[in-house]
Symmetry: C2
Subunit: 404 residues, 2 copies
């Protein structure tokens, strides 16, 4: 172990793909995996098995490595603060991780002038004010600019469409009255022209790079496909990059941050607006295609950034698409590789070593092609074969709002 030692909290596919990027760089990876985690353990020799809420285990793990980073954000922030106070190097820092709280994120971005949807934060527990929620919904219904429904999000703990509800005014009052969990963020259900993602990497010494802007396609609130390049004009592209960099600076990102964006507004070119949907202070599903499509992948770049090494170029292929492989509860993608490769010989398979429980991301496929449509067809076809043929890919180019 002569190279630096990076500790990753969490043993899912993000840890697995970080480890894949670490090997050629001569970086040693140590993973803190929960007993139930699948993904990294089969391919990383140095795994500590413990629940990330086990304070003693996390303390010992953090002190055994040069820098700590994260596969997920579900870690007790008070404990992380204690570790930071003791001199453990957390990248990202707790201050950055706190932006995974949707209420905190909305308030901070709004105060910093970063464009976000109109929102209302309701305290959690038993103090939820149903009247305020109803008034917010009514105001947006009357504005005519939205569908009339609202989106209600738990500020913490959601992912892949979980913790997000789309409700009419009547349902909203009932929901809020019966809620006793985390604070809620309420927003109008916007009519989206499309959803974008911009990935940004920032290192402690300040260098910041972005990747070409991506289009993301959500199905049932879960990111299902990602397309490169996003079909937008130069003005919108520049705006997306500028917002991405502003967000990375605002949250003092260290490593990769994924910024998910809504495109709203009139159809006419130049009339679109970009709003920040949410961010993930880490590598992200929307960036998986960077492994093959860009000069430096999000995984390699994250490692370079958290070690404060020079960042790499991010220029990309002319067109690429990623499709997730989603489990259906029975078919095992790890027995279908030959069939998948026969469907599209140049497809890049990424299987995560996870059992194919229904609705669970168990892999992804990236295809490079001469144009986005061809890449998208190829990636969707291969993902469908791997999933067992049970995952019809929707052709919708726009989507309703959701969490990816």
């Amino acid at each position: 172990m002569t190279g630096p030692v990076v500790g990753i909290v969490g043993g899912g596919q993000l840890a697995r793909m970080l480890a894949e990027a670490a090997t050629p760089l001569g970086i040693h990876v140590r993973v803190l995996a929960a007993p139930s985690d699948e993904g990294a353990s089969e391919v990383v020799p140095d795994v500590v098995v413990a629940d990330p809420d086990d304070a003693d285990a996390l303390r010992a793990f953090a002190r055994s490595v040069d820098v700590v980073t994260f596969d997920h954000e579900n870690v007790d922030h008070d404990l992380l603060r204690e570790l930071e106070g003791d001199g453990v190097v957390l990248r990202p820092s707790v201050a950055t991780l706190e932006h995974s709280d949707k209420a905190h994120q909305r308030r901070r971005f709004s105060a910093a002038g970063i464009p976000v949807p109109d929102f209302l934060v309701l305290p959690g527990g038993s103090d939820v004010d149903a009247d305020a929620a109803a008034a917010f919904a009514a105001r947006h219904r009357d504005s005519g600019a939205t569908s009339g429904d609202v989106v209600v999000k738990a500020s913490r703990g959601g992912y892949d469409g979980r913790g997000v509800w789309i409700l009419g005014e009547e349902q909203l009052r009932q929901f809020v009255d019966s809620w006793s969990g985390a604070p809620l963020v309420i927003e109008p259900l916007l009519r989206l022209r499309s959803e974008l993602a911009v990935l940004v990497a920032r290192r402690p010494s300040g260098e910041v790079v972005t990747w070409p802007v991506l289009e993301t396609i959500q199905v049932d609130g879960m990111c299902n496909e990602v397309l490169l390049p996003a079909p937008i004009g130069e003005a919108l592209r520049a705006r997306a990059h500028a917002i991405g960099v502003q967000v990375a600076e605002e949250v003092e990102a260290c490593g990769v941050v994924a910024v998910e964006l809504f495109v709203v507004g009139a159809e006419a070119d130049g009339a679109e607006q970009i709003l920040v949907n949410e961010i993930a202070p880490r590598v992200h599903n929307s960036g998986h295609l960077t492994i093959e499509a860009n000069a430096t992948s999000q995984f390699e770049q994250h490692l370079r950034a958290i070690l404060d090494w020079p960042l790499g170029p991010t220029d990309g292929a002319s067109a690429a698409a990623m499709a997730n492989v989603v489990g259906n509860g029975s078919d095992e993608p790890r027995s279908r590789q030959a069939e998948a490769l026969a469907a599209v010989p140049g497809a890049h398979l990424h299987l995560y070593g996870k059992s194919p429980r229904a609705e669970r991301k168990v892999g992804h496929v990236t295809v490079l092609a001469a144009d986005v449509a061809a890449a998208r067809r190829g990636a969707a076809l291969v993902a469908d074969v791997l999933a067992g043929g049970g995952t019809p890919i929707e052709e919708a180019a726009t989507s309703t709002e959701g969490r990816s």
Copy 2:
């Protein structure tokens, strides 16, 4: 372990890079590593530590996996034949592996009409005929087409220039008289215009693919740099591909086979001839740049081929170069990554997890660029930084013969 299990005999960098390619494909890798092997063990969880000459260990290992492949050829062929007889799937087969014997290879290729240098095989042990060797050398000296010296190669056990000697006529007689090892192959020392490598993959069901032809640059008999594309005309390129395919069919390759070629003959376009220098029935140093420069790397392709999965496309970047990182006995490349990446931010580092003993390959660097000269400069610079600045890269575009 739901996917197929591939067993790799040997735990060096080729096993390490095969494992890197196996992970995203959902292929489980098990490595049989000798106690002294460095490279794969740090990054592969499933390692059996035993000497490959330990018959019981190799038998148990082979029977625990779906298919056996090789990081190196230094395995007892009689034992492998026994395993094949018992139904173990060896890919490549023993019959293919036997071509790593240089005498066997020369005779087979010559009989099959594959162009090779003129050669003489002398039996090993105490039966070596110094007069025959001297007569061979004299005949080539008198032809005027060569330098007058001869190349003497041990038929087995050499690598990276070891087991190869360049000798004048007087030295030859002395050498042969004192030799008591493996059979020897004697060839004229040819005036080379350049050296090429063509990689070929072949699967059991017969599909064969080649990659774009590469130029290899040897220093002291060790492959030091590889350039894509090779600076040759279309006729020579087609000839190299045809010979590569013929070799793969002749040796009944399964997986990747690297075919190293000499270009000899007059300077005028169209007057060059290609001769097969030697082959390696496995992934090879000359193909490392395929990881970034080609649609399918040699490592992924080898896995696809030995599992009889469809082979992938091999179209390549417009220009790329690879430079080996060679140890100098003291400087540790695993502490120089930041410096190396600062030198050429888009360089792709590959460190093998090996201690930097002098003259030992401990990593490689690949750089893609707009032209070969720029890629070569970049790769050489970064390899030099990683090696500690003690590895001057020669600018020679041609080379004397040697083993890579």
